[in-house]
């Protein structure tokens, strides 16, 4: 038992020691600070019609617990679904495969280590909810139970199952991270849209938030006359002044035994899934992820090499053109991923050409761009991942030439994909739309580059891009970076300024790295 616990603990330590995890913790702390808005804030996170709850213990505990359950189910998956891939890429997997460890033990240890990582984030949000309660205290008593119950009953089972899903997706679709992302995207959307009708159906809600939402709606209904019963729940960041909202007293939820059992059953189901998948786990017999399947290993064949005298070889001239760099960066972007992804891209391009221009711009373009997430996410960090960093940093003017060519290559890819839409807008002479799309491409590439440079990894950008795309599909204007919903010059100018700032920060950080 002790070696098993050591494996979990060490795996957990390795992951929390990473720089990107530190950044994610910062971001989590910042986001959790906004879960319950400051009393004078101009936004709300959970609102039932025109009502928000009094800032009592139950409101803080339940709101932060369900926000964490939703937020961490989405972010958490992207955070933990590369734990097996990491062992494969670092070749530690080959050592693991040669040990006595059973597939089930290994997968369970990965699941539990995923769970611990997510639990760390849950703990931070939990502490933040306590801090917020005392910060915004409305004169209500502090009741610790109202904080603990929702986290134990709602949040923890959700994040445990997400930890399981991280491993399940890796076992089933380990090689195809983009399919994992897309499948999880649909699965999460389904989970959010799921609407239980009967008492028993709350048990099927993995996120566990629906029962709390129902209770909140019921509470508001009970204080409103029937004809004014606007109890539509909005979850997420909605612009609305909190202090002007009507208040209702939320006293928490009395969870039924059936519901509580269902939460435990979700966790048991998770372990069952691991047991079922253990026999089909590849145990690191797969080839390296970066290589397509069909390529054969180059063998040393009988060949008499030419004896060359280096001093007699032709000497290349100094040529500081960036074109070969841009060409190779584009080649690297294009070759990343399988051929079938280009078929999907092709379908997206056809849809951009044929669909109604508004739909194409608002929905197809962000999805098509999001499908390039794996290409953009390591546009700058690939040097670290492939150990080519030394070549770059000992090269001639690396900052001005290499980084610029990476930005240009990324923009070329995004603009190529958006070309049909740009062409359609060009015919309509819609300059603002063309500018918005071009700046959108530039901004998202700049963010990919900046996050790659500061985290030296790709995870943070992947999570960020997923959130932004999800929000854009749900037509949340504040994250509209490509002019899909907001069409005015001031918004375009803001995007332009953001792009310039992020690009400048990227150059600055890279310069510091090179000068170090």
């Amino acid at each position: 038992m002790k070696p098993f616990l050591n494996v979990i603990l060490l795996d957990y330590i390795i992951r929390i020691r990473s720089y990107s995890f530190l950044i994610i913790l910062y971001i989590t702390t910042a986001i959790s600070y906004t879960f319950v808005p400051e009393p004078n804030a101009n936004y709300s996170t959970i609102r039932i019609g025109e009502h928000v709850g009094y800032y009592n213990s139950a409101w803080f505990g339940y709101v932060t617990a369900i926000m964490t359950s939703i937020f961490l189910s989405l972010l958490g998956f992207y955070l933990v679904n590369n734990s097996i891939k990491k062992d494969l890429n670092t070749k530690v997997g080959q050592i693991i495969a040669s040990t006595k460890i059973k597939n089930f033990t290994y997968l369970l240890s990965k699941t539990l280590s995923n769970f611990l990582v997510l639990l760390t984030i849950v703990f931070i949000i939990f502490v933040m909810s306590l801090v917020l309660f005392f910060l915004y205290n409305d004169g209500f008593d502090f009741e610790l139970a109202q904080f603990i119950y929702p986290y134990i009953i709602i949040t923890i089972p959700s994040v445990f199952f997400i930890a399981v899903l991280g491993v399940v997706f890796e076992v089933l679709l380990g090689k195809y991270s983009i399919i994992q992302n897309i499948m999880f995207f649909f699965m999460f959307s389904f989970l959010l849209l799921y609407s239980p009708q009967k008492e028993i159906e709350y048990a099927y809600d993995l996120l566990g938030s629906k029962i709390v939402i129902h209770q909140m709606e019921e509470t508001v209904r009970s204080i409103l006359p029937v004809e004014k019963a606007d109890t539509d729940m909005t979850i997420g960041y909605v612009l609305a002044n909190t202090i002007q909202a009507k208040k209702f007293k939320f006293n928490g939820v009395e969870f039924s035994l059936v519901f509580m059992s269902s939460r435990l059953l979700w966790m048991i189901l998770g372990i069952l899934l691991i047991i079922i998948l253990s026999p089909i786990f590849h145990r690191f017999t797969v080839r390296e992820y970066s290589l397509p399947k069909k390529r054969t290993k180059s063998r040393h064949i009988e060949h008499t090499p030419k004896e060359i005298i280096l001093s007699t070889l032709p000497i290349p001239h100094t040529k500081l053109s960036m074109l070969p760099l841009i060409k190779t960066e584009i080649l690297l972007l294009i070759r990343k991923g399988s051929l079938w992804l280009w078929l999907i891209n092709g379908t997206g391009i056809v849809l951009l050409t044929t669909l109604n221009i508004k739909t194409a711009h608002q929905f197809i373009l962000p999805i098509l761009w999001f499908l390039q997430v794996h290409r953009l996410s390591d546009i700058t960090s690939k040097e670290i991942q492939n150990h080519t960093f030394y070549f770059i940093s000992s090269s001639f003017r690396p900052l001005q030439r290499v980084l610029t060519s990476q930005i240009i290559a990324g923009c070329c890819l995004m603009l190529f994909l958006a070309a049909p839409l740009l062409f359609r807008y060009a015919i309509e002479m819609s300059v603002l739309e063309i500018l918005s799309i071009a700046l959108g491409a530039f901004l998202i590439v700049s963010i990919a580059i900046f996050l790659g440079i500061i985290t030296k990894g790709k995870k943070l950008f992947e999570v960020f891009f997923f959130f932004v795309t999800y929000a854009n599909i749900n037509v949340i204007p504040v994250v509209d970076y490509f002019g899909g919903t907001i069409k005015n010059t001031s918004h375009t100018l803001i995007i332009m300024c953001m792009t310039i700032i992020i690009c400048s920060l990227s150059f600055l950080k890279r310069k510091l790295e090179i000068n170090r």
Binding site: I309, P314, K319, L325, L332, F396, N515
Partner: protein
Amino acid sequence: MKLEIKNVSKHYGRKKQALQDFSLTIENGILGLLGPNGAGKSTLMKIIATIHKPTNGIILLNKNNIIKDANYMRGQLGFLPQDFGVYPNLNAFEFLTYIAAIKGVGGNALKTRITELLDGLNLLHAANKPIGSYSGGMKQRVGIAQALLNDPKIIIFDEPTVGLDPEERVRFRNLISDLATSRIVILSSHIVSDIDVIADQVAIMKKGALLAKGDLQYIIKEVTGKIFEVSIDSSRFSDFKHDQFVLSATRSQGSITVRYFSENPVEGSIQKKALLEDAYLHLTKS
């Protein structure tokens, strides 16, 4: 060409000191850099290659301070790092073209030079296959090729022969041997015989400091006449090791032939010709 390393120190944090007040002057020829793990060889090479900056000290290349003007060095540098990687989705030709662009070289001669280098390094037959499918030795040879792309005047090879089979090692030695006349070649290796055969000068490092520098004869002089071999019973080996400076031992049928350094050899010992490896072991272990 003249490279002067003057009082260079490199600290990582407060405790770890990779280089301590290190000074060395290198002129045209091949300098072999020897030292145990953690001696500071790679740190020194990365500082010369302008990847790291020293905490103290300066480095002059033809009187130009490369700490301040890194591009002066970069324009004429060929560097093979110890732990380099490649982009697996590019083939050797594409990868070398990319590195050439990074180094700021091109023109009509580039294609010929890449082809010739690939041929000389026995990679031409695989030049159009993705590097991800190459063996470790083939990747190492791609690394060697990229270091020589721009006709560098300063070439730094950090463990260049790792992963190469004996035949390829010989080919590598032959390849760089004609560079020494008009260039500075700095070569580090754990394989003393590699340095022994090709280096004009040898520098031995330990714990970030220079222990010795000179030509082979100068380095070996320290131990000349003091290297002996004796055959002893294997049961006596432990005591022998305790009393003498053992350099190597070969086991054969119950007895052990021990090669050792001593000013007072034991009875029955035969004096042997001193080698670079003997001098290296004596300097770094004593």
